[in-house]
């Protein structure tokens, strides 16, 4: 079967007449900034469609989802689609693979590029045969006469004569929902999974060049540590086969045997003395640190420009009831299972870098910036960044840093291939963290029980210091070299672009007067940057906890209370589906209170993305045991059904790990999270029963699924634990220590007494 072949010669792409801020017609997703068809597709290999994307596989299954979109629009079997690894030398620049945007950015672009290429190929075939284009239908990549059933051509023949080095003009629309045969329903194999199941060489760690040199980096334990030892003096007994490289506080051991290099580097590291870092906050009182550190304060959002009510609580009207509470999350580690690794070769003015960076073009820009003082620096065009897969990163981890480490070592060994791999301790202590964050909520409820005023204040470091965006490089080694530059302070993207620490701080409820205040720290004792869901994880937990707290104080059912303040039909739909289908929520026989509890939480990710609702059932003794998690999600038009389920399940489990276990520990001697024993994450014996209900809306735009579940799951667990204990828990993680703090109503968190 085939979709209709809509050909027209309109000059303006249908539905895309809005002018963008750059003065150009707004095109969907990354097509806007990558308009040439040849940037996306190639038909140069017979029977294969090669797809170029700037988005990279992080384990989220994006290659599979994009291949499905191409197969759908071109009416091919998914096996005929080959998605090429991203490189700066070919394909679109799609900035960073982050923010659950790949389906929206790359997927939307490919829908439209494929529709256009399909129309071009059919039109050209029909024209050469003197037939109306409407007579041709596409079957598995071939063009068949709908009347005679004769095969008249295919993409590869038709496009041999067509130059795809041309801009998208909007010849045809993507397939309407009713003509789709693959998206949302087709069960497709994950493209990347066989290599992983059979142990093939697929990861960057498996790349092996002849005579490749290995290096290990030895670096300051914290951002402010100063080296007290002379590295040359303490390394006189290094094995002959390795070399020491010292550039300021950036030190590397280099040699041909990875094992000898590693052993030597470990030995040297143990001998080096560093100053204590007195700039680190008290890890036991992060709420105090966050609220007292220097910061920049801004109003992220308010109910209306001229709304007199969207002022601070001090000028809210008298009467009604006031509520306030504060919620805290510690620093969290990305904690990839793999280690950051990169390979570089600096040869005759050309630099090649193999990396698992999430943003290869941005990394290149930052490398150019970091080398701008060097006379031998290659020109931007002479730097080629090749993406190679690694373990999941869950945000800005050490991938970019280790790439620059490799560049610096490769510079010292011209023409040689150099591979740098971090250690487990490096991965957990030198990758940027997700910032500690405090959310203080205040609300006024009128005598009829309606929330009239709402303020959500956030204190945290910014949530992005990704490469390629600041005036100084964000690559760690750039701050350690003798010609050092200071690391840029992380920023928060504007709320219109999803926000940072303030992501999802705008309530999803109908509140006439609201204000979001963002306090961005202007100091950075621990290095922070983007971690999955950014501020949404805590903000959603805080809002959904606060709604429970207010409902309880008003003596109202917590779901009905939310419903009264909700208008969004898609939010209500996920909530209804979840609660109606739940295996436990409506079971009157299950114990509630006295160590047993159930909780609910929902959010629309970024207030513009996917809708997700979650419920949890817990048992609390001296620790928290999560028994059940159930979720319902609406990501618009589903592309890869199992891919969405996998992202929601994984997001829920990772969020549960953050919520009940995780916390970066540190003191003035440095970070105390160097291994899995002191940064434990969720193990398989701790997982709950888990189920996901999916709403497919084929007529709506597709939305990313990777970060929809984290906030709602945290909220559901916290609300369940609070019910189980009969008191409010506001500090993450829900560790035995923090449960005890809640029992004693820690005043630094606005304990129980301060609720009203």
């Amino acid at each position: 079967m085939s979709a209709q072949n809509t050909i027209s010669s309109v000059a303006v792409p249908r539905g895309f007449s809005v002018n963008h801020s750059d003065g150009r017609l707004k095109l969907p997703g990354s097509l806007h900034t990558n308009r040439k068809l040849c940037q996306w597709l190639s038909f140069d290999v017979p029977s294969v469609v090669r797809v170029f994307t700037g988005k990279v596989e992080l384990g989220q299954g994006i290659l599979t989802a994009l291949a499905l979109i191409v197969a759908e629009e071109l009416d091919l079997e998914p096996e005929a689609v080959k998605v090429e690894p991203a490189t700066t030398s070919r394909g679109p620049d799609e900035a960073v693979t982050s923010g659950s945007l790949s389906i929206q950015d790359s997927g939307a672009a490919l829908h439209h590029v494929c529709a256009e290429v399909r129309a071009l190929a059919i039109e050209s075939t029909a024209l050469s045969l003197g037939l109306p284009a409407e007579r041709l239908i596409v079957q598995n990549g071939t063009f068949v006469d709908s009347i005679s059933k004769a095969v008249l051509g295919d993409y590869w023949t038709a496009l041999a004569q067509e130059n795809l080095d041309r801009e998208y003009v909007g010849l045809a629309s993507p397939k309407p929902a009713e003509f789709r045969r693959l998206l949302g329903s087709h069960s497709v194999a994950r493209i990347d999974l066989p290599d992983k199941v059979f142990g093939h060489a697929r990861f960057i760690h498996d790349l092996n060049f002849p005579s490749m040199r290995h290096a290990r980096i030895i670096r300051p334990p914290t951002l402010s540590s100063e080296l007290l030892s002379d590295p040359w003096a303490v390394s006189v007994d290094l094995p002959e086969s390795v070399q020491l490289m010292v550039d300021g506080q950036f030190m590397a051991i280099v040699g041909l045997s990875e094992h000898i290099v590693e052993t030597a580097a470990e030995r040297l590291a143990k001998r080096l003395q560093w100053t204590e870092d007195l700039s680190l906050p008290d890890s036991g009182n992060l709420a105090y640190f966050l609220q007292n550190a220097p910061c920049e304060t801004s109003i992220s959002a308010q109910s209306a420009e001229n709304d007199a009510g969207s002022t601070g609580p001090e000028s809210w009207p008298e009467g009604g009831r006031r509520f306030k509470a504060a919620y805290l999350k510690p620093y969290l580690a990305h904690a990839s299972i793999g280690l950051s690794c990169a390979i570089a070769r600096w040869s005759d003015g050309r630099l090649d870098v193999w990396t698992h960076s999430q943003g290869i073009h941005n990394l290149r820009d930052d490398i150019v910036l970091a080398l701008s003082q060097e006379t031998d620096a290659p020109a931007r065009d002479a730097i080629v960044i090749h993406h190679v897969e690694a373990a999941g990163c869950y945000g800005h981890n050490g991938a970019d840093d280790v790439a620059f480490d490799a560049v610096l070592v490769a510079r010292a060994f011209p023409g040689e291939v150099v591979r740098v791999r971090w250690s487990r301790a490096d991965e957990l202590t030198h990758s940027p963290f997700g910032s500690a964050q405090l959310a203080r909520l205040e609300a006024r409820v009128d005598d009829q029980g309606h929330i009239t005023h709402w303020q959500h204040s956030v204190w945290a470091n910014g949530y992005s210091s990704r490469p390629g965006r600041a005036k100084t490089p964000s690559l760690l080694a750039a701050a350690e070299r003798s010609k050092s530059t200071s690391l840029p302070l992380p920023i928060n993207p504007p709320l219109t672009a999803g926000g940072g620490a303030d992501r999802n701080a705008v309530p999803g409820y109908r509140v006439p007067h609201f204000r979001v205040v963002n306090h961005r720290l202007t100091v950075m004792p621990l290095r922070t940057s983007a971690m999955r869901a950014l501020g949404a994880f805590l903000n959603v937990m805080a809002i959904e906890s606060f709604m429970d707290e207010i409902a309880l104080a008003l003596g109202e059912d917590r779901i009905l209370f939310r419903r009264r303040h909700l208008q969004d039909p898609r939010a209500l739909a996920v909530m209804d589906l979840l609660l109606n289908r739940s295996t436990f929520w409506n079971d009157e026989n299950l114990p509630r209170g006295d160590g047993h509890g159930q909780g609910f939480g929902w959010a629309r990710y970024k207030n513009t993305g996917a809708w997700c609702a979650a419920i949890a059932r817990v048992e609390v003794t001296d620790h928290v045991r999560v028994l059940d998690i159930e979720l319902a999600v609406d990501v618009g038009a589903v592309v890869d059904r199992d891919g969405v389920l996998n992202q929601i399940e994984g997001g829920a489990i990772q969020s549960m790990s953050w919520t009940i276990k995780e916390q970066v520990q540190f003191d003035s001697r440095g970070l105390r999270c160097s291994g899995w024993d002191n940064y434990p994450i969720l193990r398989i014996h701790e997982i709950p029963r888990l189920s996901v209900h999916l709403i497919d809306r084929p007529d709506q735009s597709s939305l990313g699924a990777g970060e929809a579940a984290q906030g709602p799951v945290a909220a559901a667990i916290v609300n369940a634990v609070s019910e189980a204990l009969g008191l409010r828990v506001r500090q993450l993680p829900l560790s035995p220590d923090n449960l005890l703090r809640a029992v004693h109503a820690d005043p630094t968190m606005g304990g129980q007494g301060e609720l009203e």
Binding site: P194, D195, G199, F203, H259, A390, R421, Q654, D677, I684
Partner: protein
């Protein structure tokens, strides 16, 4: 010189007794299946079978392996002739980034050899040495249950 069997080959390896088995497998023998995750035997990414028993290879010294039989994921099934567990993991799409998977599958295959129809609790116990940061644990259990014919689906 340490002599051991790796998959179907007998190998003589010239290395120090303290060299970790994982280094020999990856650096000397060029195997990519066992992955380096932590170097302390805490994450399971480097799991292999030593004389049939799942053990981490990153912290296992070569000196203790004279005459032992080591099996890696490469020796347990391949794309032409997959182990039923590998097939089940593909069908269930039981993984995300997949960095942990060769270790996970090795432990499962070791378990099934000793106990062809494990209970859910036995599956969980066998997989507890393995960390999966993507949170694909539930699918892993489902895939093992599919492979042993216990799946309710």
């Amino acid at each position: 010189m340490i002599e051991l069997q790796v998959n179907s080959e007998v190998c003589q390896v010239d290395c120090e007794d303290s060299t970790p088995l994982l280094v020999t497998l990856r650096e000397t023998l060029g195997l990519s299946g066992p992955r380096f995750g932590c170097g302390q035997g805490e994450c399971g990414a480097c799991m292999v079978l030593i004389d049939g028993k799942p053990e981490t290879s990153c912290n296992r010294p070569m000196g203790s392996l004279q005459g032992c039989r080591v099996e890696t994921i490469e020796g347990l099934g391949n794309i032409e002739s997959p182990h039923p567990v590998q097939r089940a993991f593909l069908v269930e799409r039981a993984g995300q980034c997949g960095y942990c998977l060769s270790g996970v599958l090795t432990s499962v295959i070791g378990l099934l050899r000793a106990n062809p129809s494990p209970s859910r609790a036995e599956i969980i116990a066998a997989l507890d040495p393995h960390l999966c940061r993507c949170g694909a644990y539930i699918r892993m259990i489902r895939a093992v249950e599919r492979a042993v014919g216990q799946s309710e689906n």
